[in-house]
């Protein structure tokens, strides 16, 4: 009740809003008037049955297929579509009215929109994305002006109003109220197409602006639809202007011809009867020309009115565009600017001497811009490990691969092992014990080495290992692969063979 009173009060304010919409809407005032946003409450409970999207869309398609112009169609006693048009009335909008009957079971606004969109696609030839945008706007529009008879009466023809009442006009935001109490108005204009501009009422736009992304995408799309409509009308008016110009030319030509014949007749000095007959013929032609000229004058007046309408619509579209542009800038400015850049370590690879090597770089995670890079450009590690405030990796120095600790900030090596490592060795850090395992050279073979936190080699396995070996810790042992392919367990304590 409180909502209805509020809506009625809002409705009384709508007309003035529309009138000064031409001069620009007072946004602050409008925001004060809107006391709630449109939030549809959908059914959340268990479903006895689930219809496919195709089946749901099929309802809309069937409604469009069954409807004849100027009439109505009922589908399965659940949905009804009314094409309320009156071409003899020039003021106000026509409309399609989609009725959800008492036996309908639709209970989610997305499905209502699917039905609507499918109907618009089939009935008016819209593309799927265009129809989806229109359906979204139609539901928001009908929810905002739910039961607002003053609003609808101020815009729609009587042929539409006769189907609406304060209890069923528009759509409720609560799914339970839909069956039997929903008559959604889809505004039409001109040649029976949907009027996108009618759906861009200031309150509908404000509703969209309440979203996090300010509804920019659907607003742009509805503007595109409105622009298409204006362009079609501009082309049609331009064509009619050409026809009018051609008609005027023909009229002038005919008048000249009549005058020329009149002069020639005077010079010929015809017999009186013949002269009178010819003059009567010329008079008839002049009357026809005058009639034609009157028709052309009426055409020009109609064109002028249509041109005025196009100009007004163009101006309205431009206002909508300017608002979207301003809001786009607002959204761009809102994008968080991190006080501290989110840094990400990355390795950029290159082929050197036929082998892949890498360079440590730090990039901004938001923009992938390289913030700084290391002078170390022959990193051979397959994985870079974190070691406190440093990175643990293998890199070549003077042609020899060594284990290194690299400062995370400067990306420069702070500790370098003396032992030679296998360039692509797995590195197994155990920072809780301050030790690192990796494959090291001993003579002509490769062995498992154990390093201290300072990267001093403190143990080396007596048995050789496959340099590409994985290392898996289990209990007190690390499992490695031998050159012959067998798997052995080495002690974590002294890398001896179990």
């Amino acid at each position: 009740m409180r909502y209805r009173t509020c809506a009625l009060l809002m409705g009384l304010l709508v007309l003035p809003v529309l009138l000064f919409a031409q001069q620009g809407v007072d946004r602050e005032e409008l925001e004060r008037q809107i006391t709630r946003t449109v939030v549809f409450q959908n059914y959340q409970g268990p479903y006895e049955r689930i219809d496919t999207i195709d089946a749901i869309r099929g309802i809309g398609v069937s409604l469009a297929t069954g409807l004849r112009p100027g009439s109505e169609f009922v589908l399965a006693n659940r949905y009804r579509i009314i094409n309320a048009v009156d071409p003899d009335v020039l003021v106000g909008l026509d409309a399609d009215i989609m009725v959800i009957l008492p036996d309908a079971r639709v209970d989610h606004i997305n499905n209502v929109r699917r039905i609507l969109a499918a109907y618009l696609e089939r009935a008016y030839g819209y593309g799927s994305s265009q129809a989806a945008v229109l359906a979204e706007f139609v539901t928001i529009y009908n929810a905002i002006y739910r039961g607002d008879m003053a609003f609808f009466a101020g815009r729609y023809k009587q042929v539409v109003m006769q189907h609406l009442s304060a209890t069923n006009a528009g759509i409720s935001t609560v799914y339970r109220d839909w069956p039997g109490r929903t008559r959604m108005v889809v505004p039409l204009r001109g040649a029976g197409l949907v009027d996108p501009l009618a759906l861009t009422d200031a309150r509908v736009i404000e509703e969209l602006r309440e979203r996090d992304d300010m509804g920019l995408e659907p607003r742009r799309e509805i503007i595109d639809l409105a622009e298409d409509s204006v362009q079609r009308d501009e082309e049609r008016v331009a064509q009619r202007e050409r026809e009018v110009a051609e008609a005027r030319r023909e009229i002038a030509e005919e008048r000249r011809a009549i005058e020329e014949e009149r002069r020639e007749a005077e010079q010929r000095q015809e017999p009186p009867e013949e002269a009178a007959r010819q003059e009567a013929e010329r008079a008839e032609r002049e009357e026809r020309v005058a009639q034609r000229e009157r028709e052309v004058d009426e055409d020009e007046e109609r064109i002028e009115r249509e041109q005025q309408d196009i100009t007004e619509r163009t101006e309205r579209i431009r206002e909508l565009r300017d608002e979207v542009a301003e809001d786009t800038r607002t959204v761009m400015e809102r994008a968080p600017v991190a006080a501290v850049t989110q840094e990400v370590l990355f390795v950029q690879t290159a082929l050197r001497d036929g082998r892949p090597v890498g360079r440590l770089v730090v990039i901004d995670s938001a923009s992938a811009v390289v913030l700084r890079q290391s002078s170390l450009d022959r990193v051979t590690s397959r994985v870079i490990h974190r070691w406190g405030n440093e990175h643990l990796l293998i890199a070549e120095q003077n042609g020899v691969a060594r284990l290194m600790r690299v400062d995370a900030q400067s990306l420069e090596a702070v500790v370098v092992s003396q032992a030679e490592l296998f360039p692509e060795s797995i590195v197994l850090p155990r920072p809780d014990r301050g030790e690192v395992f990796a494959v090291v050279r001993d003579g002509g073979a490769w062995h498992l080495g154990k390093f201290s936190g300072n990267l001093e080699l403190i143990e080396r396995s007596s048995v050789s290992v496959d340099p590409y070996t994985q290392m898996t810790v289990a209990g007190e042992f690390v499992f490695v692969q031998r050159p012959d392919g067998s798997i052995s367990a080495l002690s974590l304590d002294d890398v001896s063979l179990r």
Partner: protein
Amino acid sequence: MNQHFTSRRGRVVTALLLWALLLLPASPQMTAQESSGADPMVFLPLWTHVPSGRLSGPPVWTRDGRMLFAGEDRRLYAFSGTGGRLWRTDLERLPATTVAAGRDGSSYVGLSPNLIAAITPAGRIRWSVAGPDAPVAIIPSPDGVVYGVWRNGAVTARTVRGAAVWTVQMAAPVTATPVVTAHGLLVVATGDGALTAFDVVGTRRWLQRFPVPVTALASGERLIAGDRAGGLHHISATGSVLWSRRPSESAIRDVLLDANEASVLRTDDGTILAISPTGTTRWRARPPGTRITAAALTDEGVIYAGTSDGRLIALNRDGRLLADHPTGRSAAVQHVGITRGGRVVTAGDDWVLAVWCVSSCAQVGPRAALWGHPRGGPGGTGVSPLYLGRSVEAYRDILDFIFLEQAASSDSVESQRRALADIETRVAEGRVGTAHVYVVELLVSIAMGGPVGRGRTPVAPSERERAMALLGELGDHTVSARFARILPAEPSPLMQSAILSMMAEIESDPDGDVVTAVSALVQPERTALTPGVGLAAVGALTSVGRYNRAEVRIAARETLIRMSSSEQVSPGVRAAAAHGARTLE
């Protein structure tokens, strides 16, 4: 464990495969950056603007360093290189073509449903003319002719004042944005597979037919055409096909040429291909999961491309990925442009226009050279950069020119008068037509006081005046620049007035030559100006100030202010100068 690990070759292959885990996001079509020790390329945002709609085409740059573009909001915008909006003009109609920049800083744009409009450098609509159908492209030629190409296949040529020069109707609709070749021919592609070349006087020079329509054209030193079936053709100056290839199965949407005449193609399926000067495909690239929606090519062969998911990519001439940068929004990039100073401009489906520095923004500042093109240079307008316009010599075999030239250069005053009368009649009746290009040159010769090519009897002042008046009507801005050089030295006040009146009528003064010349006239150390010359100078400054860009307007106003308080001129002229200065505020 996999046997692959045990062999040496397998270990190397495995190492390379494992490195792939650390590579930049790549696809089989896009290769990783080859480190050369240089810092990786980055895009740094310089400034952005959100016009109230999508752009009708990529931004263009004028000779004086302004960026122009038109948008769905039915406005034409002019921006400086540093992102300052200079002006915004209401076009009232939806722009249907890319904006075209004229030689003198003016611009042209096609408007829905069937108009072409000319806009002054100051942002005023100078004229608009209706055509037979929707405009497809406008190309201001260095010859001083403005070509208009219409969807139904009509091709029109107009003067810079909008007067009709010639019209040709093609047999089928236009299918590609036309170009002007290095030899000055306008090449038009139509839906019947025809490629037709016209010269500046509207004569068809050659016709070549293809089995499928041409959908993209590019003209540098060579003429390259891409067609709807993915075919690529090199066309000679006489219209013969030098080679044809089929690098793609998808229609070619853009053909770009670098300074070495290598091509880059953008196809309908969102791929870019690099083509050698002999037509072989060097490489092709397409980002994984997205499409290339716009591309631009530098003279050095660097490609900047926008994608359907809102990224900006840079590739070098070998196809190496130099940078892959999200624009920060997911909307498709509709247009990519490159300024002469190396900035990159993107315009997206979300209406956002952004200007990016490449690796460094160190050159930020209002430098015209950063944006503009060489004086008189066309730069990215569909005109081959090698074509700078024709000289009179190109018309020496045309009978009409021979007749006029003989009359104009004759010793006989009567012959000169007949030539001028002939031209006057043509101008008055709008019949200059195909003679426009050389008529200007003949008139200049008469107006400057000497015959064409021969040193004979000086031209009588009355004839010089008549010639200047005609030049004023024809409106070629290069004429003002030429007369600006002789104005201060012209001894006759009558002739000075005539020159100044001509300059006022022409209006266009892109480099401020008129203002500079008039300023020199009103120096205190010079002889006092006669009232006639003074008033004519005021008229020229006011006219030029209203028409041209801000810097010229400011200079004109300053000169008028100086005149308004100068003892060198009469009280009447001082008052006129004061009024003129006020109109330029």
